[in-house]
Symmetry: C2
Subunit: 434 residues, 2 copies
Amino acid sequence: MRTGLQLGIAGLGTVGAAVVKLVAQQASMLAQRAGQPVVITGVSARDRGRDRGVDLSPYRWFQDPVALAADPRIDVVVELIGGANGVARTVVETALRHGKHVVTANKALLAHHGLALATQAQQQQRILAFEAAVAGGIPVIKAFREGLAGNRIREIHGILNGTCNFILSEMRTTGRDFAEVLAEAQQLGYAEADPGFDIDGIDAAHKLAVLAAVVFGCAPDIGAVTVEGIRHISAVDIRYADQLGYRIKLLGIARQHDGRGIEQRVHPAMVPVSSPIAAVEGVFNAVVAEGDFVDKVTLVGRGAGAGPTASAVAADIVDIARGCFVPPFGVRVEDLASGDDASGAGRPGHRGAFYIRLMVRDQPGVIADVAAALRDQNVSMEAMLQRGRSPGGVVPVVLTTHETDEAAMKRALHVIGGLETVVEPPRFINIEKF
Amino acid sequence: MRTGLQLGIAGLGTVGAAVVKLVAQQASMLAQRAGQPVVITGVSARDRGRDRGVDLSPYRWFQDPVALAADPRIDVVVELIGGANGVARTVVETALRHGKHVVTANKALLAHHGLALATQAQQQQRILAFEAAVAGGIPVIKAFREGLAGNRIREIHGILNGTCNFILSEMRTTGRDFAEVLAEAQQLGYAEADPGFDIDGIDAAHKLAVLAAVVFGCAPDIGAVTVEGIRHISAVDIRYADQLGYRIKLLGIARQHDGRGIEQRVHPAMVPVSSPIAAVEGVFNAVVAEGDFVDKVTLVGRGAGAGPTASAVAADIVDIARGCFVPPFGVRVEDLASGDDASGAGRPGHRGAFYIRLMVRDQPGVIADVAAALRDQNVSMEAMLQRGRSPGGVVPVVLTTHETDEAAMKRALHVIGGLETVVEPPRFINIEKF
């Protein structure tokens, strides 16, 4: 006889192994909190022989995760394989088609196929839960989707990728340059051998698309997210940021413009040292939501790692056991904001303040040319720094602007980049004054 | 014909009026998120004539809130009257007895009668929800009880009273003394005419008892909370804290000691300037939970005020509309930790580091006497500061200790307080190094 909620775990990497450990170790507590026993029935992974530090012998082994997803003895499929397509997607679709609830940590899958999967879950009257997909152990989906359900959210922003935050924090405290710190992060296991997914902002963009869908009630639309990573941030920029009273963070920002769609951006940004998010260092994540009744709510915690991610998976399992049925993106799929709204069609260009760094030949007249180019585009300068002289050599010149139209600023930079005295392409970083 | 979830609002102070406003203003959004319309049916308050800035004419008026609680047309009673006993308690008990769900912001009621009310709710198979009772708009109950359900929580701590945090922040930034800043807080409406409830730590103790019950799965036990307020914090202490690298905060702290119950304390504490909680200033609240899988999760936001509190009430209403049934304290009442565990019977005395301030006559030998008294109780000094001289006059002497037994430290202070050269009762403040 079956008693309790039967889980099938597809994918036994560090997170999968931690989920197995958590469910075994906390069994009696989970049973009380879930209102019924929570039992692992089946597990699946590519390599059966690998030592994962947990005893898998009590569980039925599935060589094929899709067979696990279809097995009639399983109530909930926990997908921890990863990837936007391929087997992870097949596992989730198969599980829903067979009337099972799904828990997943897969932000890429949700960012690309969230609407289709939410539609399938709704048709099957099953739960598609993904607390672990955004900000690791921080219960940000639950806190924002349910805990702030009475609010219209105007804006969210946050540090959504621990690898980038670690690299930027290390660059600042040690003064070292990007490549060197990246190598260290790879040695420490904080960055993958192929780090592009993290450092080019793709992982943060997936998370932002999912989080924006949850708080604004729209379908995730990864194509609507403007993405820029941290490869071009130099030790010089970090140093100038410090001098100007800012920290550089890779941020995800999503903003609702009334009737003009949702602006979604991932890029490095300078935030005032005094802002709460500036103090979030290393592998930690932080997410801020601003609602019309609640004002700002900030959540901080570990955004990755086996234990925190397993914690988020377990929270979803307990919800399912209790029968708490909340639509994946907060409202039924037919009530999701329309594609136009979500994709930001017709939204205005971004306005904001900017930090601009130029590498120029140290000779008279350079600043006058730069200032003229900015003036011609109506970009108003706030401050200019040129520390250190090297007559005839190359020196950095740093400017900050008042709030300005991004497109105009880029036009000015195009002109500036063409000046004979400017020897590298101009660099700019958004300044966000939260 | 009735459609949707019918609310009765008992109590129309600033929070009650904000709930009425929220439900009216966000009606279509709430209906989508709740899966059904959310409708105010009846309202009740003492004074019908008062202008509350919201139109009450669409709602049935109940002069008697207990009649509202018993009315068959109402599904959910929202109790916003306040107070541990009296009419608020009668309203909640009546509502549950008549098979209605209850949403309340009443921490005093829950801290004193939480177990009885949770038992009644369980017998009636109804929801007793209280997100608004702790930390205002921050969804701390949901985030910890549900979002961290996979964890054994080892400790929680937080800034739970915005009035005290405002006063302590103002004292630090302006250098003024307690009484003066309290008067300002009263003028600004941040403190009541009778401020004892806030500044003596009682409000924070109610919230801590409720939050501890939720995270540790025990009955709230206000009698188990050690409480000390901020009246005795002087401008001198604030200044010395600054010099020593600390901020003074009124904290609520609850800690699980394996097999030895739960330690629950509310008192002013010095926290390192570098700790995240030190940066939470003014009327903001912050709560940190530490779980075995998730590590630390921190939530920050507005801990009081009409809008944030209404936001929390609305979240509970949406949960009820969706039928999300979570026991008030996370597990069924028969599974709550036993009274002995919860009351901390047999728990060890507190150990920690301390700041000690003495007002002494500035004459030779004083420090030697003080040091001897500490040595006799095995209290180890970490630092001593005596800035400013006033030969023959009275000067402050400040000490910090290493981790020590609180009882031993108090015995030493008793001796020190009896010294002829010590002219005021010694003051001490816990140092907490989170």
